[in-house]
């Protein structure tokens, strides 16, 4: 009987083990059975939990691990069978123990999640996010826990912070470099400006030098020539005194007078030029009636003009007023007109006219003289005019005169230019500020 019972029992067990059955039938209660079959709908969910790359646990109310997945066992570096049934708190780092206990109590009220540090079996510490949820299964209370390894995130964060710091440092370096660079650029610009000024100064000095050389050349020529004549005549009178006829003596003395006067005039010109150039206090502009200045100049030159049978015409109207130094206006006119006289053949005419243009007065001195080439007109008011204008007859010089005129006009904010046609005549134009 016993053997038969045993055999029957063993056969049942064999059938079950051989997977020859589909379900087990259990007597749950009176008139009710429980059926256990392998094919459940829960399998996919179980696989999910078993295979996920996060730690998944089921804890008792007190935090005992009733179930955990392979990933968690891996995290704490222990075989699965050793983790089941142990305390979760055993795997929490001391620094997070208190916090974890708190979370375990808090999750009874509502699900919680927070960062904790898991203490792995081999001494490693793992930054992790623990998510707890209290739930009930078959009226029994449990706590589900998901533990996510945050190591990578923490690493990335650290890297990010480091990178940010590096970037900030680089930024600061760049800013400093920028400031340095901006400073250097400013310095360079300043240097450049200084250089340009220096270059201009050099140019000016070179011009002045050339000017100076030309002026000296002109001076030498203009001042010496009359004196050469004077000395020559004086020598003649001195050596041949007894041999000379009265008429000759008279003639020579007249020549002497003329040359001396010319020399004086040259010196006056030079002094005037010097005054203009170097004595800046001697400059007092005032309202000057131009036609009166012209009259004065004509008065001075009428004899020379008459000697050459040249007509002087003052066509400047009484209303033309210039604002300039009176003496300077006379000098300008004197030099230009006397220059015109020198270059106009007998029977010619010199006319002076003027007109208002904006805030300036433009004066024109036209002659019916021999005229000048284009080349000459261009060189006329520059220091390059050393041996200027081949003068007629004995009337040499005139170079200083025109330089003087140019300098005067520069000082009075005026301009001068000339239009000429060889054989026909020249027109000298100059501008001065208009007066009231």
């Amino acid at each position: 009987m016993l053997q038969r019972k045993l055999r029957s029992a063993m056969e049942s067990v064999e059938a079950i083990k051989d997977d020859a059955i589909d379900a087990l039938v259990l007597n749950a209660r009176e008139n009710a059975v429980k059926v256990y079959t392998e094919k459940t709908a829960d399998k996919p969910y179980r696989i999910l939990i078993e295979k996920m790359h996060e730690g998944a646990l089921m804890l008792s109310e007190d935090g005992i691990i009733l179930y955990c997945n392979a990933y968690f066992a891996l995290m704490v570096n222990l075989p699965l069978e050793k983790v089941f049934g142990t305390d979760l708190i055993d795997y929490i780092d001391d620094s997070s123990k208190e916090h974890t206990d708190k979370l375990i109590s808090q999750c009874q009220v509502q699900p919680v999640n927070d960062e904790i540090i898991v203490h792995s079996g081999n001494g490693k510490k793992i930054n992790a996010l623990m998510s707890l949820n209290a739930l009930t299964l078959d009226s029994k209370p449990f706590i589900s826990a998901i533990i996510t390894d945050l190591t990578k995130q923490v690493e990335y964060q650290k890297k990010l912070i480091l990178r940010t710091k590096q970037l900030e440092e680089k930024n600061e370096e760049l800013e400093n470099a920028n400031i340095e660079l901006a400073f250097q650029i400013r310095e360079k610009k300043k240097r450049g400006k200084e250089l340009r000024i220096a270059k201009t100064d050099v140019k000016d000095l070179e011009e002045i030098n050339t000017h100076k050389d030309s002026v000296l050349a002109i001076l030498a020529h203009d001042l010496r020539s009359p004196l050469t004549g004077i000395i020559g005549i004086a020598e003649l009178l001195n050596t041949d005194t007894d041999d000379l006829k009265q008429s000759d003596v008279k003639r020579l003395l007249a020549l002497l007078l003329k040359e001396s006067t010319k020399e004086l005039s040259m010196l006056d010109n030079l002094l005037e030029w010097g005054r203009i150039k170097y004595a800046s206090e001697a400059f007092s502009p005032e309202n000057t009636v131009l036609t009166q200045s012209v009259s004065k100049v004509f008065e001075t030159l009428k004899e020379v003009a008459a000697n050459n049978r040249i007509q002087l015409m003052n066509d400047v109207t009484k209303d033309i007023i210039v604002f300039a130094d009176g003496k300077m206006v006379l000098s300008i006119l004197q030099n230009i007109v006397s220059n015109a006289i020198k270059h106009t053949p007998a029977g010619g005419k010199i006319t002076v006219t003027a007109k208002n243009t904006g805030n300036k007065v433009e004066t024109e001195v036209t002659d019916t003289g021999i005229g000048m080439s284009k080349d000459l007109t261009e060189k006329l008011f520059t220091p390059q005019m050393t041996s200027l204008l081949t003068p007629r007859g004995e009337n040499k010089g005139g170079g200083i005169g025109l330089l003087l005129v140019k300098d005067i006009l520069d000082k009075n904010s005026g301009e001068i230019w000339v239009e000429s046609e060889e054989g026909k005549g020249s027109s000298f134009y100059f501008t001065l500020l208009a007066g009231k």
């Binding site: 079950i16 083990k17 089921m58 005992i64 392979a70 699965l80 069978e81 089941f84 049934g85 299964l137």
Partner: protein
């Protein structure tokens, strides 16, 4: 059989080598199903009370560690297997009957 009290049980180092625990137990469970959960709680309580530190307990989830289940010839779970001290004994169920458990552990 003579009833042994808890104290004498602690001093029972029979069949255990140096460093080894006297009792080697294996509990096979099915994940988090109710009987399994109860079995775990119960065996822990009994071990803490009667075996103190002289036991080694492996709790094996047959889903995650099926090979062990096969090697032990498991028919139904949960089941507690006493490997040592010999003889090997098995108890199927949720282990809520403490006397039955103690019998299986040869503690009565």
């Amino acid at each position: 059989m003579k009833k042994k009290n808890a104290d004498t049980i602690v001093n029972n180092e029979v069949a255990a080598g140096p460093g080894q625990k006297a009792y080697v137990l294996r509990l096979f469970v099915t994940g988090i199903l109710p009987n399994s959960a109860r079995a775990i709680a119960n065996i822990k309580a009994i071990c803490n009370q009667y075996l103190k530190n002289s036991y080694e307990l492996d709790i094996i989830d047959i889903y995650q560690l099926p090979d062990l289940a096969v090697s032990e010839d498991i028919v139904a779970v949960p089941v507690l297997i006493k490997k040592y001290p010999l003889p090997e004994k098995r108890l199927i169920g949720d282990l809520s009957d403490t006397d039955k458990v103690l019998k299986a552990l040869d503690l009565v």
